[in-house]
Amino acid sequence: MLPEFFEFYNPTKVVYQVGIATDLKPELDIIGKTKYFIISDHIIADLGLVDKVEAGLAEAGFEAVGRFLDVAQDARLNDVKKCADLVKASGAEGIISIGGGSVIDTAKAVNIMFSAGGDLVEDYSGAHTLTRPLNPHIVIPTTAGTGSEVTMVAVIYDEDNKEKLVFPDKYLLPNLAVLDPEMTLSLPPKMTAATGMDALTHAMEAYVGIQASPVSDVFAVGAIDLIMKNLVRAVEQGDDIEARGGMLIAATMAGISFTHSMCGVIHGMAHAVGAHFRVPHGVANGIFLPHGMEFNFEFIYEKLARLAPVMGEPAEGVAPEDAARNVIAAVRRLTSRLNELGALPIRLRDVGVPEDSLPLIAESALMDGSSFYNPRPMEDEAELLPFIQNAY
């Protein structure tokens, strides 16, 4: 069945090549700016990745006019304000972000203040509030999970008011996403597994979401295929450049898919346990994904069944219900394998979530913006409790 309406808008140029993060002259020449401010974090800088990119820029005749490395685990509002002041004072004409989701989201929010001025919260909270394009933003992801390099959303934590602010805006889509698997080689197995499960959850939720379209489906299915082929390899053998490349491309494809069709209640759950118990986002998604697929089963099984061949499951002559259950079983086998490798917890009880907090998680997840797009409509947190108990 075709959707009543869909829109596909993806102006972000995506380039992929081993080593391309140090060889960006052709792409930057087209953008036409020469002075860039670099936003990253200390872990990435300590690994030498910021120096590496800067050296490549200098060799190609571009200038890095400043650095901000104080991005925290969550993109934080106060950091955004501090960084924006530095960017404005630096004479930069554009931003290069090097890192995972927090770094990229920080850079997106900084670019709003850098390009459009004003107060981030007062002037730009809401949906699509920007009225003109921002300065160029080039993203070099160092994890394969967030997909933020191709999404129109920045999520910023307001530490003073203890709330997550969401900024969805087409003008936040970066100009260029640079996929260089060498930039993810140093990602440890646990981070590789967690970010990979984040990407898989993006793709799965986008595929069955209420705003899915035939176009977003193509990217979701492509992402799932690459993740099933490459995630365990990348965890087991961190220097497997092909597996790293496959995961990087998969995360970007999943990002393109979910920025159009959105995520669902699994992300709502992950946001809830992240906010209350600091459970890393990818780990939470990995824990909740198979249980969320079960929770939504009646609403998604026909479409889920079509994933069977991609998941290495038989499709010919198999009833849709059975094929869909096989797809969920394949996800469980993946998370179990990652768990055997010591890379991914698969129970909420193993990540510091107290059992008496399950009603609180249900309440928060129900109120999360992602849950609105879930294929199974939900009205009461009591509906969510069995789902969370299963994950516990």
């Binding site: 909270s125 509030t129 602010l165 797009y373």
Partner: protein
């Protein structure tokens, strides 16, 4: 051509409907639970209305440009009119910029199930109050 011939008529119809929603427990209770203060900025014809859900009862205040709202929704009067028939998908309207929302969007999205009964209420209200000419369902 705009549905409403004047700002006065649009205000009469819409403010009356908002007040009816505020007196309908199935809708009002959930709106009050949200504690949101929403300012609607309409164009063609122009009108500003604040729906204040922060107190014990819903307060509808036309022309209130002073109160600090939690959420501001900006749209044409025609889009607003069609919305109350259930004929506008909010997420699509936001994507296409037929509506612009400033403030915490997840809280706005969460109100959608609460206001669902209003979609049936709106045409009934129009008919019952002499505004039948604006009932787009009847015209079809």
């Amino acid at each position: 051509m705009a549905t409403f011939e004047s700002a006065e008529k649009f205000e009469e119809v819409l403010v009356g409907f908002f007040k009816l929603m505020g007196e309908t427990p199935a809708i009002a209770d959930k709106l009050l639970a949200s504690k949101l203060i929403i300012r609607f900025n309409y164009s063609d014809p122009d009108l500003v209305v604040v729906v204040d859900c922060s107190g014990d009862k819903i307060d509808v205040r036309p022309h209130d440009k002073e109160t600090k709202a939690t959420v501001e929704m900006t749209m044409s009067a025609d889009i607003a009119h069609r919305f109350w028939f259930g004929k506008v998908n909010l997420t699509i309207a936001l994507t296409r910029k037929e509506m612009v929302a400033k403030g915490p969007i997840p809280k706005v999205l969460k109100l959608l199930p609460a206001i669902k009964p209003s979609y049936a209420l709106y045409p009934e209200y129009l008919e019952a109050n002499g505004y039948g000419e604006y009932n787009i369902l009847k015209k079809k």
